[in-house]
């Protein structure tokens, strides 16, 4: 318990340092643009592929589990849409990004720590925590909602392709289903979750990397811890946010 409180205290103090006034906003702006490309644009590929197959599997599973003449087939489209918007595009995509982006952040910052690059920044008079972490947080907060929206679109498209190609639903029924009883607030809910998850992934991973001590072995461990802790926190906050936002 004491260890947990110590770590939490260090995390809060790190965040305080991260959100202090930047030395030179123009340099931070440039760095944020770089992170948008590195952490955001470079994640489009994996999110697209995963979302497409996720949508396809959801559609096929819904179809095989509702093989009953009482249920209208357009419910397959509706089920696919709601599952993707409510859960898969925000939470599952966040778990995947925790693996890809989280480990990358922890190992990048951890390597900078063990090779004294962070000490070099501090000696120059640069707030290393802010310079290294703030642009990453801003970039993921800006871009992860875009990734979620993309994931929703691609997921539903994947469901439509799989459903029609497998012959479990007609194109007309699927399109009718994804339009039926649509609640726009679900999109807002999904995007709010995404913002929380983006902050968790970036700040927790950066925290793990920033306080690495030792060498390459410890950097590897920090990277693993970043993924594990981010994933657990994502799942925990998923429950809390769902209760708060949908109850």
């Amino acid at each position: 318990m004491l260890k947990f409180l110590t770590q939490f205290g260090r995390y809060v103090l790190l965040l305080k340092k991260v959100f202090s006034r930047p030395e030179k906003p123009s340099v931070y702006y440039k760095q944020t643009m770089h992170e948008l490309v590195y952490l955001g644009l470079n994640s489009i590929g994996i999110i697209t592929v995963i979302s497409f197959f996720m949508g396809a599997v959801i559609t096929l599973q819904t179809a095989y589990n509702t093989e009953n003449p009482i249920y209208p087939t357009y419910l397959i489209g509706l089920g696919c849409r709601d599952s993707i918007i409510l859960e898969f595009s925000s939470t599952v995509a966040a778990l995947i990004l925790a693996g890809k982006v989280g480990s990358s952040i922890a190992s990048e910052i951890g390597t900078m720590r063990v090779t004294e690059q962070i000490d070099a920044l501090e000696i120059m008079g640069v707030n290393s925590a802010s310079y290294l972490i703030l642009p990453k947080i801003i970039a993921t907060l800006l871009f992860n909602p875009v990734l979620t929206l993309l994931s929703i679109c691609v997921g539903i498209f994947g469901g439509w392709i799989a459903g029609t190609m497998a012959g479990v639903i007609t194109s007309e029924d699927f399109i009718y289903g994804i339009q039926y009883a649509f609640i726009p607030y679900y999109i807002t809910y999904s995007l709010i979750k995404t913002l929380f998850f983006a902050f968790i992934i970036t700040s927790v991973s950066a925290f793990q990397g920033y306080f690495v001590e030792g060498g390459s072995l410890e950097v590897g461990r920090a990277s693993t811890k970043a993924v594990v802790f981010s994933s657990v926190l994502i799942l925990l906050f998923n429950v809390i946010l769902t209760q708060l936002l949908l109850s």
Binding site: T115, Q117, A120, M124, G125
Partner: protein, 250 residues
Amino acid sequence: MITIKSLNKSFNGKQVLTDISVAFEPGKTNLIIGRSGSGKTVLLKSIVGLHDIESGEIWYDDVLFNKLDFNAKKEIRKEIGMLFQGSALFDSLTVDQNVRFPLDMFTDKTEEEKKDRVNFCLQRVNIINANNLFPSELSGGMKKRVAIARAICLNPKYLFCDEPNSGLDPITAILIDELIKELTEEYNMTTIVNTHDMNSVMQIGEKIVFISEGLKCWEGNKDDILDSDCTTLNDFVFANALAKQLKASL
């Protein structure tokens, strides 16, 4: 001028530095020497504020550095250049961007002025036509020289070098030592060099402080070092067979 008074530092209850008092003069190459694990790097990192000290005073001219808050320390640090043991160049930046970094961060110079300053610093350390290379594409000696260029690009008042020639061949090591000495005299910097290389000591040691097991055991210059009656210093200086023969012939 950097003055240290009664500095004490420990890690998890283990005393690493005990009652260190010493003054480092400007325009001179001040050397901290000692065996590996003697506390040299901890002393250097304590002086620049990377380690918090238990007690004692660290004065940068007339400013008591260790009592300053984070922001005030940042202002002093803008006058510090540091060369790390592993060079600590930013992997994701080119040579040009590494040297330019402090200029981007702390000055309002135009692009043209920054370019001139970067080229001047790189030429000063004899790095030619390498502006677009990444650190991974440089040799050990080149990395050290680029790190020196980055350290001097804001005309620092204080220069710290942690084992500047570790991992380098003797010829390159002497070139780096000479470069540090020349720059110290040229810019009248207060330079502190951590080393356990006796070639460096004899090459550039204008003021030498010997540390052993966290204690300051001896202080002097390169002319005094061969005649010292300090046993631990003599064991360190005359460690190899050739040096022992030299000592016997003195």
